[in-house]
């Protein structure tokens, strides 16, 4: 899908890179929802991806939401209009933003304008994504516990001249005041470079200390 085996390295096109990134976001979002217990464990099913056992949610409404989201993200990535994707976890009762999972995207404009392909090994990309998924799973050790019922939302930072479908509306950035930030690994397809960062609200215990 994304690559054809060439003589030495794998050739990656814009379409393929967009598919890789959008797929990564889907799996990363599912992993975050599972690890942060936004949905109960029994709502998830185990699948094999990136050489790791990944968890995907089975709820049809969330699945359809994710599929629509990833398709739109893929479209924007191919157009080179997407700057960032943020997964926000909020308290259901108060609406307060508790965590922001920030996926910053840098696009090679030459590829978007001229359509030239790039070369990178698929295995290396998979290894990089694997490292990110491991870090997401291990983030449980330092992120504060979410004791209350939470909901999630996804924000897309795009260029101002992007064509907005009617299923998307303008939104505020849903920032956290005085957050703690932890930078995670990133991955690079030579066309799209993705950096991951999580910012979270200071735990009350930490503030007291």
């Amino acid at each position: 899908m994304a690559s054809k085996t060439a003589a030495a390295k794998d050739i990656i096109t814009l379409h393929g890179s967009a598919a890789i990134v959008s797929e990564f976001f889907c799996y990363a979002a599912n992993s975050i929802l599972y690890n942060r217990a936004v949905y109960p464990e029994e709502s998830f099913v185990k699948v094999k991806k990136y050489g790791l056992p990944m968890l995907l949610i089975e709820d049809e409404s969330v699945k359809s939401f994710m599929s629509n989201l990833t398709s739109q993200i893929s479209e924007w990535l191919e157009a080179g209009k997407l700057q960032r994707v943020v997964l926000v976890i909020m308290s259901k009762a108060t609406g307060e933003v508790l965590e922001r999972w920030n996926f910053r995207i840098e696009t090679d404009t030459e590829v978007v304008d001229k359509g030239v392909p790039r070369e990178k090994s698929d295995k290396e990309i998979m290894r990089e994504i694997q490292a990110i998924m491991r870090q997401v799973a291990s983030s449980v050790t330092y992120l504060p516990c979410l004791d209350e019922t939470c909901v999630f939302d996804v924000l897309a930072y795009t260029d101002t001249d992007v064509a907005v479908p009617f299923t998307w509306v303008d939104s505020d950035p849903k920032l956290i005041a005085n957050p703690q930030m932890v930078k995670l690994h990133g991955f690079d397809t030579k066309i799209h470079k993705v950096d991951t960062l999580v910012s979270y609200k200071n735990d009350e215990w930490d503030e007291e200390e």
Binding site: S61, Q72, R100, D153, T160, L175, I176, K183, L197
Partner: protein, 727 residues
């Protein structure tokens, strides 16, 4: 040569003079030795030979001559001894000079070695200096470039700072203008409030009047109702009385009828009977009239009860109208407040540039806030950069000090070389002095050898002298070479000194630039950390970036439905209120008009909201329908089955989803598969087609055994395709 004849004796004075003269001549000519072999006599000897020829001496003369010769010989011997001692001293001096020459030669060699070492060191130093110069030149060029870039950046930052300051000033001015406008608006709002309060007071008075009118009407109605009640009571009592009478009349009528029947059976007829009959008929008529009156009374009673009901209804309406009047007051106030706010905001919107609708205000305020924040941050950044530049200056000073120390070290080295050079010069001067002394000695020796006549010693002395002269010449050559080397070294030292000074200056500049670069790197690191923190925080530039979120369609649909239902309920309530108000309006006159206008306005707004929500719902439905149809068509084309989804309910009340699949290669409409889906589990249902032999076998194998519905459907598709195409 012995004079053959002594010279003639002269007077004592003359004789004294002659031998003196002879002695003088002899002494002047030194010792004249008799030799048989002719010798090249000097010119005065020829004259003396002439004189000897003249002078023929006697024995006395010979003795005298012998004595004279002996004296001269002794003197010559003494002179020879002196000369020998002088030679010895000269030889000693020569040996000393030779030793000194050797020493000098050793010193020369040593100095040569030192010179060579110094040359080597100088070469090394030169090479080091050259490499350092090259490196410093490279660094210099790089730092020049970086300086240019930094200067450009500084200018840009200064411009940005100025722009930020100007924008901050404009924003402040705008804020001040807005504040002024706000104060003006608040004044106008207060005035309008007062006016509205007056209007409300008037409306209240009017409402009171209307209420009093309604109360009066109600009282009238109450009086009417009371009258109707009293009438109804009276009528009731009359009705009861009439009922009683009616019953009595009926009883009498039955008795009369009985009597009449008895009378008709009897043949006797009398006038009394006819009178009775007439009387009875009259009574029946009166009773009938009373019955009619009773019926009328009954109908009136019914009317009275109806009137009571109406009265109660009107009372309830009155109460409702009063409550709604109070609510209407509140609604009026709120509507007026809203209208005032709307008008004020509209006027504000007109005043604020770049804003056309209320939604733009939020964006405008957010953009202004962002601009203010950005400008303040830029100002802070510029301040940090200035502080960093100051730190860089201090760092360059430290670098300059280090460069100065290095220059001092180089100077010390050069001074050491200078001292070496001076030492060598001193040695050279000493050597030249000795050379001159030796030259003088050699010249003296030459002179002495030229006056005396000791051929053997003179020959050896001559060779020695020649050797000494050759060695001296060599030494002179060496000295000349050393002097040339010294001059070259001096030139080199001067050049090195000038280069060192230049390098020092360059080092100072480069140290400064290094420090500025370090500062820039620190600043860039801090900027990077700031930017990373901003990115992590989620900040963005509204000029380049837009934040979008996907509308959760399922939630929106539910919310839309809920809002629609709520709005519909509100609409019904409003309609009921409107009806009540209309009834009140019919009863009261003018007071209802005002109420109507506000209610209609609110109702219009609610209707508009409902219309927009309904449009949105229809749009969603059309979009979903399109999507679903596209999905269904795609599924049919991709997998080869038309899928129909239905919702069913089991007998136990559990809802299940039923899917009916029909292959596109099916030969008739009966070839349908039915599946039931419940909470993630799909099961096949038995129907006519599924219970056929081959299909049942396939179901047994693929679904029951291997638990794979896709394999079953794929196999069925292939079989039906083959049947269609091949058969």
């Amino acid at each position: 040569m012995i004079l053959r004849s002594p010279p003639p004796k002269r007077l004592k004075s003359d004789a004294g003079g002659s031998p003196i003269s002879a002695n003088a001549s002899g002494s002047g000519n030194q010792l004249v030795i008799y030799e048989d072999s002719p010798l090249p006599a000097p010119a005065p000897l020829q004259t003396s030979n002439d004189q000897s020829d003249q002078h023929l001496c006697t024995y006395q003369c010979r003795q005298m001559v012998k004595a004279d010769v002996l004296d001269a010989f002794s003197k010559a011997e003494k002179q020879v001894q002196e000369y020998q001692t002088q030679l010895q001293t000269l030889n000693a001096n020569f040996s000393e000079a030779d030793a000194e020459r050797k020493q000098l030669r050793d010193n020369l060699l040593y100095s040569k070695q030192e010179l060579a070492a110094a040359k080597g060191r100088e070469k090394m130093l030169q090479e080091q200096l050259l490499t350092e110069i090259n490196n410093s030149q490279e660094r210099y060029t790089k730092e020049l470039q970086s300086c240019h870039e930094l200067e450009v950046k500084l200018q840009n930052e200064m411009n940005l700072r100025k722009k930020a300051e100007s924008s901050a000033a404009t924003a402040e001015e705008k804020a001040k203008l807005l504040e002024d406008k706000l104060t003006q608006l608040s004044g106008s709002v207060d005035r309008e409030k007062k006016r509205l309060n007056n209007d409300i007071a008037q409306l209240g008075k009017e409402a009171k009047l209307s209420v009093s009118r309604i109360g009066a009407d109600l009282e009238r109605m109450q009086c009417r109702a009371q009258n109707a009640e009293t009438e109804s009571n009276l009528l009731r009592s009359q009705l009861e009385h009439l009922k009683l009478k009616f019953d009595e009349c009926l009883q009498e009528k039955t008795e009369v009828d009985k009597k009449l029947s008895s009378f008709t059976s009897q043949t006797a007829s009398s006038s009394d009977n006819s009178v009775l009959i007439k009387h009875l008929q009259e009574e029946v008529k009166s009773y009938e009239a009373e019955v009619r009156e009773a019926r009328k009374l009954k109908s009136r009673h019914v009317d009275a009860e109806l009137l009571k009901v109406k009265l109660l209804e009107e009372n309830s309406r009155r109460e409702r109208a009063e409550s709604e009047l109070s609510k209407m007051h509140e609604l009026q106030l709120s509507m007026e407040m809203l209208n005032n706010e709307l008008s004020s905001w509209k006027s504000l919107l007109n005043d604020i540039p770049g804003v056309s609708c209320p939604d733009d205000i939020v964006m405008k305020v957010s953009t202004l806030q962002n601009e203010v924040v950005q400008s303040s941050m830029k100002i802070e950044e510029a301040n940090t950069r200035f502080k960093q530049l100051e730190v860089a200056l201090e760092a360059t000073q430290l670098g300059r000090q280090s460069a100065e120390t290095e220059a001092a070290l180089a100077k010390e080295k050069s001074e050491a070389l200078k001292t070496d050079v001076k030492r060598i010069e001193v040695m050279l001067s000493l050597v030249t002095e000795e050379k001159e002394q030796l030259k003088a000695v050699v010249n003296e020796l030459r002179k002495s050898t030229s006056e005396g006549s000791v051929p053997g010693a003179g020959a050896t002395d001559g060779t020695l002298i020649q050797e000494f002269e050759s060695s001296l010449a060599k030494k002179e050559n060496y000295l000349k070479d050393l002097e040339n080397d010294l001059s070259q070294l001096k030139d080199v030292n001067n050049r090195l000194r000038s280069e060192i000074e230049l390098l020092n200056e360059k080092l100072v500049d480069e140290a400064r630039r290094n420090k500025s670069l370090e500062r820039d790197s620190d600043r860039l690191r801090s900027e990077i950390s700031l930017l990373e923190s901003k990115l992590g925080h989620g900040d963005y530039s509204a000029a380049n970036t837009r934040v979008l979120r996907m509308v959760n369609t399922l939630g929106v649909e539910n919310e839309a439905k809920q809002t629609i239902e709520a709005l519909q309920a509100e609409l019904q309530k409003a309609k009921e209120r409107l009806q009540a108000v209309e009834e009140l309006k019919n009863q009261s006159g003018d007071a209802g008009k005002l109420v109507d206008s506000h209610i209609t306005g609110k109702i219009a707004q609610l209707k508009e909201q409902i219309a927009t929500l309904e449009k949105r719902e229809e749009r969603y439905k059309t979009v979903f329908a399109d999507r679903i149809s596209v999905f269904r068509r795609a599924c049919c084309e991709l997998f080869g089955y038309k899928i129909v989804m239905d919702e069913h309910q089991r007998p136990n009340g559990i809802p299940v989803t039923r899917f009916t699949l029909q292959s596109i290669y099916a030969q008739n409409d009966d070839e349908k598969l039915e599946f039931e889906y419940e909470s993630g589990n799909t099961s096949i249902l038995n129907n006519g087609y599924a219970s056929q032999g081959e299909i049942a076998k396939q179901i047994e194998i693929f679904i029951r055994k291997f638990n794979s519905i896709p394999a079953f459907t794929a196999n069925l598709t292939m079989e039906s395709f083959n049947r269609r195409t091949l058969y």
